[in-house]
Subunit: 428 residues, 2 copies
């Protein structure tokens, strides 16, 4: 059912990736022209295949886990690798959910009639071929592959070598769904090798890959961004800030800070730095410190924050630009909203930042002045999520500014073309 | 009035470009928050300054031309470099025209209220800092600088070394306009050196440049695309096709082919290849060949096209992928619309392609199947132009698929942010 290949030397990897790319380009053209019903059928058939082959997927995952045991991997790493019946059902249900989304291709984004009678419309079309490079989570194979299918894009998936067997079977299920729906299987291809040279070969595949989406830790994202001149949609860091303004409601500030930091500490929308106006240091900050410490959070503060509570550790310069993804928060006392804005624009990662205040002028100043994908007023940064935004599934949250910014769902995996309809017009 | 710097070694160039970048980032934040009236004032004041300093600009241009005389440059090159009173007035009028465009920043692109009461809007914001690398046309300084001002972006301009004096004075006028409007002059900065190392330094300036826009010949564009991992908006080639279908109206086909090729041969929307259905070879093709040859066009055809008229030269493989930008056209006989689509998608440059037919099914197949920024039905490819599209001035036509595709005007020089307004919501 699936393409398998022996990868021996770098050269053969390069050739194999090139062959995969050419096949993706050709298959993608058919997928790009497919109607909504056909693509949604493919997604539902793929979900059926995943359910039908659940035990095979669990067996493959056991193989991957056995391989992982031979290596010195962290518990968190192994947790991301593990598939359970629930997680497998989650993948299938996720594909069915994507099938219910509105059709992202063929949307008329603009339409105008020119004085010379030319009718010009701007219509959404797929990007073409998307290369997705990710780490150990095998479910990314289904999630990313499904979003590409929905948006009419061929996908070249390169998962972590530790999830090779699990991802292989999941990719097989997607290909089975495509085939049953009458679409080319090569719309979804998995790079089936542990050879890391495959990543380099993908990053050079200009002719056949239109955009690269890396998903994983900072080192992977940085490698991809530094090595490729193919456009990249990526999420580099989530150094999110909550700024508690002079005019913040105390209880609202306490609730939002606690939620933004501690609801889940490992997601990119978790707050990493608390900024608080100097006027709040005496009254409100001690309560926030208590809340966080009682919830098991470590605090690292500047001198003014340390003076509040001796359980606040000293922050180093590096703390202001660190994404902890853990129960740690840095705390800085600032002098008003402009000072907060300057700190965020200097130390932040253009992801998500929130101001807590009842002063509407301060709020608008913050919302306009912060150069981030998502800016919030009186809300927890943990809402930075495609699902919470009503966009359905997302392939990630982009911290870049070009093309896609913020949650990247099926719509963001499209581009557009101008369609010009005339009756014989020539240009004078 | 303007920053000038002595550039001595590569290292000093690198430092100077970095200083320019930091100044652009800081100045751009103020510009990004400026209201429409202030930006439009800056544009109008800049136009006034250009008119007021017309004679100085002509003197500077004479210096550039004298320098050009010492080098072995083509007549076309020198023509692009020359400024006349008319061309200077054109720059001033162009800036005033941009001032009349709708405001590109602050457009609400989407708005939704979530079930939890969060109000989420997606609002257009400037990209930040745009690096523009161009060749000898000094008017690009005004055109590109003006579009950046309008769209709230700081501009780092690096013009061809041959236009250094002319571009320097024009940049001074833009800076004067910014200053008079109360905006930081450093929103527009010209790299004032002939040292080509400045281009390399710009291409590495990730921290301060958000997007690079190269304007010029293919070698410049390719260098930029190959050397930078900063996002690039560029126009690589304009290998535009006209396909004359079996169901084309003969006179319409003749008019459009002649216009698409010969109206102006040097623009990117000029047709470079004529595809014609085999059924039209006996009747229509000889007339089209006559039209083109009478207009002074050289034809290079495949065997079937050569058989029509012995003035048709043989085409080589390279002809199908050559952008002549001259009075030359390649001619290929194809078997129906799918054959035409396959040729365009293989040999084209994703720019602009047109089908001439009265068969609506063939037209829709072509419009859907061609993977180009602009696809046309019964219209001349020479309409591929921001002005003709009603978008006002353009910085170029992008043949890339990400972010901006087709004409790149002020709107395309913006990105967006999500603004989330709550009343204390935390995520469950």
């Amino acid at each position: 059912m699936t393409a398998t290949a022996a990868y021996e030397a770098d050269d053969s990897v390069e050739r194999e990736i090139s062959r995969i790319g050419a096949a993706a380009r050709a298959a993608g053209r058919a997928l790009g022209l497919a109607d909504a019903a056909t693509k949604n059928n493919a997604l539902r058939f793929a979900a059926e295949a995943i359910r039908a082959r659940r035990d095979d997927i669990l067996d493959a995952n056991a193989q991957d886990l056995a391989y992982a045991e031979t290596r010195d991997l962290s518990a968190a790493f192994k947790d991301r690798l593990i598939l359970t019946p629930d997680r497998i059902e989650g993948m299938a249900a996720g594909l069915e959910d994507v099938a219910t989304f509105p059709e992202p291709v063929g949307r008329v984004l603009d339409e105008r009639v020119r004085p010379n009678g030319l009718r010009i419309s701007r219509v959404s079309v797929p990007l073409g071929v998307i290369g997705i490079i990710y780490e150990s989570r095998p479910n990314v194979t289904a999630d990313a592959g499904g979003l590409c299918m929905k948006s009419g894009n061929a996908a070249i998936l390169r998962g972590g070598s530790d999830s090779l067997h699990s991802s292989g079977l999941i990719a097989d299920c997607l290909r089975e769904g495509l085939k049953r729906a009458g679409l080319p299987e090569d719309c979804v291809q998995l790079v089936r090798t542990r050879d890391r040279a495959a990543v380099g070969a993908m990053l050079r595949l200009h002719d056949f890959i239109d955009v690269i989406v890396p998903r994983g830790g900072r080192s992977l994202i940085e490698r991809v961004m530094n090595e490729t001149t193919i456009p990249v949609i990526a999420h580099l860091d989530g150094i999110c800030h909550v700024y508690v303004d002079a005019a913040a409601q105390p209880q609202m500030a306490r609730d939002i800070v606690l939620n933004a930091k501690m609801r889940r500490t490992g997601i990119c929308g978790a707050a990493e730095t608390l900024l608080i106006d100097r006027s709040q240091v005496a009254g409100l900050l001690p309560k926030i410190v208590d809340d966080l410490i009682n919830a098991g959070c470590e605090l690292r503060g500047d001198a003014a924050a340390q003076a509040v509570d001796d359980r606040v550790q000293p922050a180093s310069e590096a703390d202001w630009t660190t994404e902890y993804l853990d129960a740690i928060i840095s705390v800085k006392v600032v002098d008003g909203v402009q000072d907060a804005i300057d700190h965020v624009n200097t130390c932040g990662s253009n992801h998500t930042d929130s101001i807590i205040t009842d002063d509407m002028a301060a709020a608008e100043m913050f919302l306009a002045g912060i150069d981030s994908a998502i800016v919030m007023h009186n809300a927890s940064t943990q809402f930075a999520d495609g699902g919470e935004f009503g966009m359905g599934a997302e392939i990630g949250i982009s911290t870049g500014k070009l093309h896609a910014r913020g949650p990247v769902g099926a719509d963001q995996l499209t581009t557009f073309k101008y369609i010009v309809r005339g009756e014989g017009q020539v240009r004078p």
